[in-house]
């Protein structure tokens, strides 16, 4: 108890001493780092402001929540019947993200455990390089794989008319987010102090017991963060899902139905919609919806992690 109280005081004194003799170069670097940290916050607000500004005329003008959120008809370039309903797009985004995470999170975390705990140091280096290589494949290439390889495979395996669908996109997205989940998850496991493992081993725990009963609870927050980064990756991907979902406006009723996502719609249509036109504004409104979705995901996750921490 004594030591615990005494220590911070000494540290604080040292710190004060150091502060008075701090050279100007350190101040400069500190300033730069602070600026970098703040620029992140600034950028987030700038992006939000920019998206809102572009979407604003639509939101205060023709916007009708019931049409925008609950109509499944998206037909921006029609001559007679223009519809901006994003229900089908939201359904597509959620379906694809959910299914891809169902595949990627267990696989990604399992391989993080394997790489970090179960394989030999040499194999680990090889696996890490391979997994990182997977992350380096550009998304158009994934889209091409979706059309040329996975599409015919799904058609012949499941006897369905079309292989560009929710399942295809989920597989592609899972493959794309696994590298991220693996490397972040592996870092989280490595960050668990070696003494934990030694203590567990001393108590006679097997490797499996160490992994599930010691490392899993200890690295829980980091593993959760890994899964969430995967969700973010899946939610935000454009080009690959554009090609793999089939980009078809409909609410998918099964995993073999084509779908369309919010991001792919923006990617496909923003380039050619006249700047400042209604279609353009609606696409920015979709951007705002996406922003809110990812914000909600992050806040929920933060709450979950912190809620658990408080309990402990």
């Amino acid at each position: 108890m004594e030591r615990r109280l005494a220590r911070p005081r000494i540290e604080a004194m040292e710190w004060r001493q150091r502060k008075t003799t701090k050279p100007w170069s350190e101040k400069l670097i500190e300033g730069i780092i602070r600026l970098c940290g703040m620029s992140c916050i600034f950028l987030i607000f700038a992006i939000l402001l920019f998206i809102s500004k572009e979407a604003y005329p639509f939101l205060v003008g023709k916007f009708e929540a019931s049409e925008f959120f609950f109509s499944k008809s998206w037909n921006p370039s029609s001559v007679a019947n223009v519809h901006y309903g994003i229900l089908a797009l939201i359904a597509g985004t959620l379906a694809v993200t959910f299914l891809s995470m169902l595949i990627a999170v267990p696989l990604g975390l399992a391989s993080a455990f394997y790489i970090s705990e179960f394989c030999s140091p040499r194999a680990r280096e090889i696996y890490k390089v391979l997994v990182e290589f997977l992350a380096a494949i550009p998304s158009v290439v994934w889209g091409f794989i979706a059309i040329m390889m996975i599409n015919p495979m799904i058609i012949s395996t499941f006897k369905v008319p079309i292989g560009l669908n929710v399942l295809n996109a989920s597989l592609i997205l899972a493959l794309m987010s696994i590298p991220l989940i693996v490397s972040v998850g592996e870092d989280a496991l490595r960050a668990v102090p070696e003494t934990y493992r030694e203590a567990a081993e001393a108590l006679g725990a097997t490797r499996w017991e160490i992994a599930t009963r010691v490392l899993l609870p200890a690295a829980k927050n980091g593993l959760m963060a890994a899964a969430l980064l995967g969700v973010g990756r899946a939610l935000g991907e454009t080009m690959a899902v554009l090609m793999a979902t089939g980009h078809s406006v409909q609410i998918p009723k099964s995993i073999f139905d084509p779908a369309r996502t919010l991001t792919a719609t923006i990617a496909a249509e923003l380039g050619e919609s006249p700047k400042g036109g209604e279609h353009y504004q609606v696409l920015f409104a979709i951007g705002l919806v996406l922003f809110l979705i990812s914000f909600a995901v992050n806040v929920t996750a933060d709450y979950l992690i912190r809620g658990k921490r408080r309990k402990r």
Binding site: N75, A80, H247, S248, E269
Partner: protein, 284 residues
């Protein structure tokens, strides 16, 4: 790919002599292959002039021309009167129009599909809103081997591509809409790739994109009329029902380099490339 090509051209321009001229050329994705082939050949004719070609769509090219950021805009549709007026208003320049070639929109299916011809009405029944053709059996009782449920998978394009708009105009009707639930792919290449691998599918694209992996259908104007296959001859003599003009636009009094290039496009050398790239030269 297109983007890299223009980047390379820009990089080349940066390190060569100062009198090197760059012509900015942008627009329709339908023309981009042809424009690139021309640009490459033109380098042999006039090595000192570089042409930076990029796609993005007819609308993109035209708005870039209106904003004055490109020298030549490629378009697979004629420029609208209001667009011309806007260009005039923006920089006081008259728009010059040149028809650089013809393009026939081919309709294609998977090779295992026994159907070899379709009429425009049948296409409207398949693609148009309110059309009742959902299964291949609705089209003259066709049965497609390898196609589960005999279901028609409609492959279309993203709603602001020039190809999409032209197809809608000719097949579905100018004021009408496509049936919802089609696969709205992001390029002609992707459409062909998908149909090549999908027995149930039908798609459309510029004739220049056709490959051996798909069957190009013979198209008739009406149910009992004779059908016409897309080819150089049928597009030139305008018997093929879905063919259109391709345009290049310049603004005001273009620089001598641009003028020389626009003249060169009309030569036999350029026309040969048009044919080789799968398009149709303008009839003389």
């Amino acid at each position: 790919m297109k983007f890299f090509f223009s980047l390379i051209l820009l990089a080349l321009a940066g390190c060569s002599k100062s009198n090197h001229k760059i012509i900015q050329n942008k627009g329709s994705d339908t023309i981009v292959n042809l424009a690139q082939a021309w640009a490459e050949e033109y380098k042999k004719v006039k090595p000192e002039v570089g042409i930076a070609v990029s796609g993005g769509g007819s609308g993109t090219g035209i708005s870039a021309l209106i904003n004055g950021t490109v020298d030549i805009a490629n378009s697979s549709r004629p420029m609208k009167a209001e667009e011309k007026a806007e260009a005039q208003k923006n920089n006081g320049k008259q728009i010059n129009e040149v028809i650089v070639g013809l393009d026939a929109l081919a309709v294609f299916t998977h090779p295992s599909n026994p159907l070899k011809d379709l009429s425009i009405e049948e296409l409207a029944c398949i693609y148009g809103q309110g059309g009742t053709c959902e299964k291949w059996s609705d089209v003259r009782g066709t049965v497609v081997p390898g196609c589960e449920g005999n279901k028609i998978i409609r492959v279309s394009r993203q709603s602001n591509s020039g190809t999409y708009q032209y197809f809608r105009e000719v097949v579905v009707g100018e004021k009408a809409d496509f049936k919802e639930g089609s696969m709205d792919l992001n390029g002609s290449r992707e459409s062909i790739d998908l149909v090549e691998k999908t027995p149930c599918a039908i798609g459309y694209s510029g004739m220049g994109y056709l490959t051996r992996g798909v069957t190009a259908l013979c198209i008739s104007k009406a149910k009992d009329a004779p059908c016409v296959s897309p080819s150089l001859e049928t597009a030139t003599n305008k018997t093929y029902p879905i063919s259109r003009e391709l345009y290049m636009y310049t603004a005001g009094d273009p620089s001598p380099e641009v003028k020389a290039y626009m003249e060169w496009i009309k030569t036999d050398q350029a026309r040969d490339i048009t044919i080789k790239s799968g398009y149709v030269p303008v009839p003389r």
